[in-house]
């Protein structure tokens, strides 16, 4: 805790000028990249020689998974929502593909999984957009439904062998020349689509609009329910894609595989500067947030700290970063 306290003390001294504050508010990427650089340097100092091409490959492979899931959180948080069903949807998607791999083949599995995810996202979107159910509750309820159905499916398909397809394994866990992960083939287009979509398309601006001021958005003619239905379908599809990569990364097909990544995905989006209240943030920061979390956790495990310390530090980082954002943006 003393480390956190001294860090926040240093931040206060650093941010005395209004210019610094404005920088932090308007361009959160700069301090975030700075933090990332510090963490990389600390990693190198802690274990001299560890930072190299292979280390980068390992970090990227883990960060890509988190970044895609954090994309779901970023998009939904921009509208003032949250998506807690990404764990259930992702696990379900990975499991469905594995259960199809031996029989009908994995491409069929991918199609089935994506359709199932889209249906789940559609139902969530209807609940949030039309029935105005709080996104936290709606996605929580959907995750129960999806987990239950996935479990039923698990019992149905127990006869077929449930191995993760070889293609997924190489996509999720291998890398070109042991450095450039193959999962970037999936991640780069996805990230580009989200970044361009948020910055350059009308739909992206509408997400910011209904998150920033729903009433103003409605009076300006935005049909928020349609936007939200599409949003939660997109979020579920992203979660499914992340689920495919997770099953390949871990070579495990389980209906609870991605569950443990749900809270870190929210954390990555928060660290990246996206406000849970809606209307502020972006995907660029989220990607850096995912990288920061991955580097921290790899640093701690390389130092031999147990999982427990990592969790405590994760929590402390989230509170400290969120408090810093709240301070500079003046949001409450």
């Amino acid at each position: 805790m003393s480390g956190v306290a001294s860090a926040s003390g240093a931040r206060n001294a650093w941010l005395t000028g209004a210019a610094w504050r404005a920088l932090f508010r308007d361009r959160p990427m700069i301090p975030l990249l700075f933090l990332l650089a510090i963490l990389v340097v600390v990693s190198e100092l802690a274990r001299p020689g560890i930072v190299g091409p292979e280390w980068i490959g390992v970090i990227l492979r883990a960060a890509v998974l988190l970044a895609i899931l954090a994309g779901c959180q970023t998009l939904t948080m921009l509208t003032g929502g949250i998506d807690l069903s990404v764990g259930a949807v992702g696990s379900m998607a990975g499991f469905v593909v594995a259960s199809f791999a031996a029989g009908a083949g994995w491409p069929t599995g991918v199609v089935v999984a994506l359709i199932a995810a889209a249906i789940a996202g559609f139902v969530t979107g209807i609940g949030v957009g039309v029935f105005r159910v709080h996104p936290l509750i709606m996605t929580l309820g959907m995750s129960f439904v999806i987990l239950g159905l996935a479990n039923v499916w698990q019992l149905q398909s127990v006869v077929t062998s449930t191995g993760v397809p070889r293609e997924f394994r190489s996509l999720g866990s291998q890398a070109y020349a042991e450095v450039v992960p193959f999962s970037l083939v999936v991640f780069v287009p996805v990230a580009a689509l989200i970044l361009v979509g948020l910055k350059r398309t009308g739909y992206g601006r509408l997400l910011y609009a209904i998150g920033d001021n729903p009433i103003a958005a409605r009076l300006s003619g935005a049909r928020s329910w349609q936007i939200l239905v599409v949003l939660y379908v997109i979020s579920a599809l992203l979660a499914a894609i992340a689920g495919f990569l997770y099953s390949g990364y871990t070579n495990v097909a389980s209906v609870t595989l991605v569950d443990s990544a749900v809270l870190p995905s929210v954390a990555a989006a928060v660290i990246g500067g996206t406000s849970i209240l809606g209307g502020r943030g972006g995907y660029g920061g989220t990607i850096v947030g995912a990288l920061i979390l991955t580097v921290v956790s790899s640093l701690l495990s390389s130092l031999g700290y147990p999982e427990a310390v990592r969790q405590v530090l994760f929590g402390a980082i989230i509170v400290a970063v969120a408090a810093a954002y709240t301070r500079v943006t003046g949001e409450t």
Partner: protein, 334 residues
Amino acid sequence: MSAVSGTIDTERARPADALAASARRNAWNLALLGFLAILLVFTKLIQPSYGVPGVQGLAISVLPLALAAVAQAIVVLSGGIDLSIGSMMALVNVVAATQMQGRSEEFGVAVVLGVLLLGLALGAVNGTLIVLTRVPDIIVTLAMSFVWAGCALLVLPTPGGGSAKWLPELVSGSLGNEWIPKAAVGLIVVVALIWIPVRRSWLGLSLYAIGSNRLAAFRSGVSVGRTRILSYTLMGLFAALAGVSLTASTGIGTPVPGPYTLLSVAAVVLGGVSLAGGRGSVFGPILAVIILQLIRTDMTFLDINTNFATVLQGLILIGVVMIGSLVQIRASRA
């Protein structure tokens, strides 16, 4: 406005109307109670052997979640939410189990009192961080759920520890009549001893006030920050009780948080507490927890795949909230 003041006037005039008004206010709880009664009859019909052991098992199995739901209800009533209840329970559970292992029975009493104080402190930390940093409660408690779960793992890396003998005996078996399980009595006593005095004091009024309209409460002289911290502190106490009940029912400590956080949110919503705050009571969530568990039991009796129970749990949660918000949308249009 005139309609509202009209009903208040008649309420004062005729006791029968006052009774009707009270029934209206507690309509959701009465409906839950009615549904629970129907469910119990249904259980007896499909499983004629369902009797004393069934009721006792039900009481013990709902105890941790019921206490967690009360904890969640207290913060939700005051307009907040806490996503770290499950982790707090795990931390309290392992601290209790490690401290009581191999110690005397009397020392166990001190441990239980100690971990209840620990719970108060954990809750106070959550509340203070929320008030001081002004970060949304959802984010702070999400982050703290990592911290408390990490602390639990530091205290006890793998399941283990032990419990004083009197603790499991406190919740198993029955009291007086064999139909009255000790766990149910314990739940009622704890809630009655802690929550009812709070509810009737200025603190209870302030909790509901900041939950229903924070600005109005502030302008009426309620110290909003202090009340929020107190609501989280009280939540911590109930989360600690839930953690101790885990030690009591399992006899050991488990450092990995159970699904209690999310289930407690579900129970609170099903129990008729508005997520916006200020509306509901802690009794509805307790009834909701019992109903959810009984549905699960019934599905086992009916030989339905228990995974459908999870599906049904989710569908009930979504369905109830959807109907609730539909009613609200209609009321605001009318």
